[in-house]
Symmetry: C2
Subunit: 336 residues, 2 copies
Amino acid sequence: MRTTATAFAPATVANLGPGFDFLGVAVEGQGDVVTATVRPDLPGGSVHITSMTGDNGRLSLDAAKNCCGIAASATLKLLGVSSCGVSLECTKGLPLGSGLGSSAASAAAAAWAVNALFGAPLTKADLVPAGLASEATVSGYHADNIAPAIMGGFVLVRSYDPKLALVPLTWGGDATQLWFCLVTPVFEAPTREMRAALPKNITMALHVANAAAGAGLVTGILNGDARMLGAALADDTIVEVARGPLIPGFAAVKEAAIAAGAYGCTISGAGPTIVAIAPERDKGVAIAKAMADAFRTHGKLEVGYAACAQLCADGAREVAPGGGAQSPADKVIRLV
Amino acid sequence: MRTTATAFAPATVANLGPGFDFLGVAVEGQGDVVTATVRPDLPGGSVHITSMTGDNGRLSLDAAKNCCGIAASATLKLLGVSSCGVSLECTKGLPLGSGLGSSAASAAAAAWAVNALFGAPLTKADLVPAGLASEATVSGYHADNIAPAIMGGFVLVRSYDPKLALVPLTWGGDATQLWFCLVTPVFEAPTREMRAALPKNITMALHVANAAAGAGLVTGILNGDARMLGAALADDTIVEVARGPLIPGFAAVKEAAIAAGAYGCTISGAGPTIVAIAPERDKGVAIAKAMADAFRTHGKLEVGYAACAQLCADGAREVAPGGGAQSPADKVIRLV
């Protein structure tokens, strides 16, 4: 048994337009880092949060109310550890309420760090339920951020009932042929409020149209067809119409992305981050820049993050203590 | 210009559980045959139906009210033919109102025969709108039967608006690893009544569950994973629950299919044909037999057709006059 392990988990884009609540993808760039330390002095199976940075003091250090703490505790339970406790130090690279899977990244990094501490006996898929326990407490019972944050790549959340069924969807093209343009304004869109904006019921016609678009999304992913993926992602007539108006400048940002050559554009997670799909790096950089400009001009918002990033195939991974959270420069170009 | 051409088009399974209204597949076995003949004596662009067999005298010979006639007329329009008319002889191999795409097969065969008559300048995808014009008149504006009846294989009807977008989905496995068990009782389930049974509105939770299952269906197809395809096909919580009870014995037939080893089972089209997925030929034959027995015992219905068939990759195709409508014996095993 080691005494300490540090893990990184990436940002994730959930919902993906018609993939609402069942499809998510991990992206290179920002992420959260958690260091777990074995603490024989703590009660067996217990978790103590030693420090939390990058959250501007907003997150609770009570392990029972914190993403890292809940995920670490659930992981210890899965591992059957009762001989010692664990302490956590968390460094958040992702802003809260940004639509980039901030809580999932913390939970994924904590779960992977704790698993690593005990020799990594559990697989990534095994660990998703531990992260889901955390998500259920802080933002609702949805696996579309936590599954890709741990497993990497695109993950289809096929069903929750009778048991959680996850299907990794392998991007069918070259990694350099799919770029995610991500722009986050300085504007917090709380997940609960964004959920409240959704219709409770929809017509069969809307269901069929969105389900067909979701099928197009999966086809685009598996066939490595960024154009089909982008077009499908933008073809959501249920969620985007309800949430878009709650994000100042959204319509202008989407228009700017398409005008700059994006294959599609929609809200990332519950927003306010907007995601667009680009076929190659340079075009992706130009699209992200146009989106950021549109947020400033039309949304009257500052931009906190703007980048053009590749798919993150790895998901959660162990890194050197205090470092390793940065993606290679050829996989993410950060503008802001 | 030739004087005559004969085409065959196959049966199709539409809906496929959560693929309701956007996914269909062509299957080997039964189908319809149409012979088109150039008629310089008829008004330019006009269509005359000379004979119709296999419909028990139920279909109109008025070309404006008949699937073959409407599709042939629309094809002549697409071809820009105004110098002559065309006469049609149609032999129906598919029973009406069976859920096997009977009207689509007639329309597809007619469209392909007329196109062949003039040197086949139009592609199969070009011809789908001609068939759709026919479907819209006789059974509603849905392309999930007509698209695979013409193009073959699985076809995703990605959208209708702003224009019809069709995506062929290539089965990712070996052709011998996917068998469709099809059992048709002697019981007519009229499309309109089956449509009326559907809910007008559904909850978001049902939408997400069915869209995720639809995504699983597409993943199973593209990855050549019959087990995933079958499980997704059976995991429909919107359409099957509404229509199943209208088909006597449905629950028992589905249960018998699963007990005999089917990966999944649901209603084909608007029924009453039931379709199950089998991984190999011999198991498929046993499943089809069990389904037929269950229809007789529990549904108290005669069985009109029971077979175990492969995917029909070809779709509509030219055949020798008066023949060629049979699939090779290794691609379909007919029990009834």
